[in-house]
Symmetry: C2
């Protein structure tokens, strides 16, 4: 049993932990920073669906290089943190070591939700665990099957289906809501994404729940709530995650009503020497301040940058989570920041909405042109931008949402946006005379 | 001779005129809006270089559809405005008509600079006029030549060379400065662009001036300031433009010291019923308030949105030109917003700079990954962002610059940017744990 001493200990090797460690080391180069993680190799979590086909089933190719940490002088310990002794300021590990810390960051992530339905333990039924050994079983199983059913039409399910459709198997999605991606987008954007999935040959079963999984040893069928039976050789569950808070709870730290570790605006838990970031920590809305159940690598990274900077001096405040998010279906990107129209209305906002649809190249006769649509949602009384949605050709859509996110974060109003000075180029963007963001805001102005 | 009456007359069919007319019609739907232009067809100015190869020499495919105007109920008159009678509030046209206006927008654009050097009138020597008839001669001439020399390594010259290199001809650029694109970028970004041009087979002759054009009837050689002679079958001049201000000058309107029509912050000339926008109008820097010689379709469109909204009531203020700009070389986008490091220093700013270089996909093993670099330049005393430069894969770079432009416009500081909440996706952006904009700002912070 070793006794190790470090100034800052980070528990967890995902994006939140990685960024917390590396930010802390940048701000406090004299402090010793150590990261402990269970996994031999850290996997890029968002890259997992693309291992299916785009990365040729090579899990190694989806690894995060350890040099991002070791190159900065951060120590990595492989092992699992078993308990936190807050009095002694030590963490006990699965290998029986004790690590003494001055400051601690909990970044234990989340675990896929596995519903307790009949047949869930059959062979070839998988959730999406961020673990190389588990994933290697999953991708091995998927590589020689004819029919695959994905349960859950959120972004993980949709991304799995999208990438699997590039291979030979028949792919289906089962989603309980009326549309895929409905937690992120307004219905017309969801419908557009479903159209692209269907073009790729994906069969979509919405308004249905997977009730029973049937098969002998291996899965053979999944039975839906409307009685339909889908034949399948493998099942991928993508129905959400639950935060890993056991370690924090057992250490007596407060767990928030929505299930994440309670944190203040500096990302500190109730114990001022212990921070929590990423999927295991509670996030609060930029708009309402209420806890929100959004768990994304980009949010984890953001929280890691806050906790890392605050590790030994309070320097950064969490202004609340905007929820900027993007995904890809076919060669279209779908992205949103802030509140979609529907969600804003449900929260009780009086809103004004502007839509703009135009080609994403100019002239539109250029190869690679896609039709792009932008929706901007404004709060009526202040005219502040509170939400944006985009679809359009690939990385253009994925990057354009960040312009909208910046506008939201700066609380820009409908009147300010049309004269925002953007750069345009025929081969890369819309025409300056017909620009989505500007036109959507201009369209909204007339409705105030 | 007809006498026509309109509430708002716009002179010029380029992006500035088009957007001024269409914005005015949106804000004042009851007003009659008329646009007069010389050209039968309005050409997308930024698309011209791509007619060479990408658009298959088809000029028609680079047209701006008139429905962008007529669809909104804006009248188009084909003809040239010959004089403005400010007392009578009328414009006389080349067809002998008189158009009575209540408000007038001058958007007469600019004309390519043609240097008075020997041989400039030889056949196959072209400038880049935004005129379909002229361009059709140009592209006909370029279509069956072996060697083409482009004079000027600014963005028009570089874009012509880039697109011509996709065809069979040997392409060379002659540039008087030490690097191509030097007016827009710091030297390392210019060097990176030159590298891509050279990969495409473009020969680059910098630090040289084209002194004499030699040939019998047609151009055969161009002689450079260092005595070198380049054999060539055609010459394309892209050395800049001068604003078309004769109409305004003859109407007694004030011309600014830098050669554009003087305008106030509402885009009005000295005559409060006459606005000027686009290449013919003077632009003023967002940073220094000084006139700046930047002439881009995106700036023209922005000014058109201001003038159009202000046509009958003052609603919008021009905060000054940031200068957001992007171009493409090979499959890399190069883009900048605000002041590059070098220009900021020349203007007398004390600056702090942060650079970040990382792949623009995650994991970087994904197909389509390019190395991307971002530079952010901050003013030291306020820590405000005053400039950004980007290169990276195609539309990602072209769209990312608009996030940076939004940050500049909102006067965000080095401390605010690292916790900017961006969206990321494996197939569309950098990793959230290794994001260029955030890392460049984080890198700068340590130097304050």
């Amino acid at each position: 049993m070793d006794k190790i001493k470090t100034d800052l200990l980070v528990i967890g090797g995902g994006p939140g932990g990685l960024v917390a460690a590396s930010t802390a080391k940048s701000f406090y180069p004299d402090k010793e920073v150590t990261l402990i993680r269970k996994e031999d190799k850290a996997i890029v979590p968002c890259g997992i669906p693309y291992i299916c086909e785009t990365l040729g089933r090579d899990i190694e190719s989806d690894a995060m290089p350890d040099t991002m940490l070791t190159g900065k002088g951060i120590k990595i310990i492989l092992g699992e943190a078993r308990s936190i002794g807050r009095e002694s300021k030590t963490v006990a590990t699965s290998k029986g070591d004790r690590i003494e810390y001055d400051k601690l960051v909990i970044a234990t992530g989340s675990t896929p939700i596995v519903p307790p339905i009949q047949g869930i333990n059959l062979e070839n039924v998988f959730s999406v665990e961020k673990d190389a050994a588990y994933l290697s079983k999953l991708f091995k199983a998927l590589s020689d099957v004819k029919d695959i059913v994905v349960i859950g039409g959120g972004f993980i399910g949709v991304e799995f289906a999208d990438d699997l459709s590039k291979g030979d198997a028949n792919v289906s999605i089962v989603e309980m809501l009326p549309r895929c991606l409905m937690a992120a987008f307004d219905e017309d954007f969801c419908a557009r994404a479903e159209e692209e999935l269907e073009k790729e040959g994906v069969k979509i079963y919405t308004n249905r729940i997977a009730e029973t999984i049937l098969g002998d040893e291996k899965v053979e069928y999944v039975e839906l709530s409307n009685g339909e039976r889908l034949k399948t050789d493998a099942l991928v569950l993508g129905i959400g995650v639950k935060p890993n808070v056991d370690l924090a709870r057992e250490a007596g730290l407060k767990i928030s009503e929505k299930g994440g570790i309670w944190v203040d605006k500096y990302m500190r838990t109730e114990d001022k020497d212990i921070f929590a970031v990423g999927d295991c920590a509670e996030s609060y809305s930029f708009f309402t301040n209420d806890p929100i159940p959004l768990r994304l690598a980009s949010i984890a990274s953001n929280e890691g940058r806050i906790a890392g900077a605050n590790a030994f001096k309070l320097r950064r405040v969490n202004e609340g989570t905007i929820g900027t998010f993007s995904t890809m279906v076919g060669d279209y990107g779908f992205a949103k920041a802030g509140l979609p129209q529907k969600e804003a209305e449900e929260l009780g906002y009086e809103i004004v909405v502007g839509d703009a649809k135009a080609p994403d190249r100019h002239p539109a006769t250029l190869p690679g042109t896609h039709m792009m649509k932008v929706r901007l949602t404004f709060e009526r009384s202040t005219a502040q931008l509170i939400g944006g949605e985009v679809y359009g050709g690939g990385s253009g859509a994925g990057c354009m949402i960040n312009t909208i996110a910046t506008m939201i974060q700066n609380r820009m109003t409908a009147n300010e946006i049309p004269t925002f000075q953007l750069g345009t180029h025929p081969l890369m963007t819309c025409s300056p005379a017909n620009c989505h963001i500007l036109n959507a805001a201009e369209g909204a102005i007339s409705k105030f």
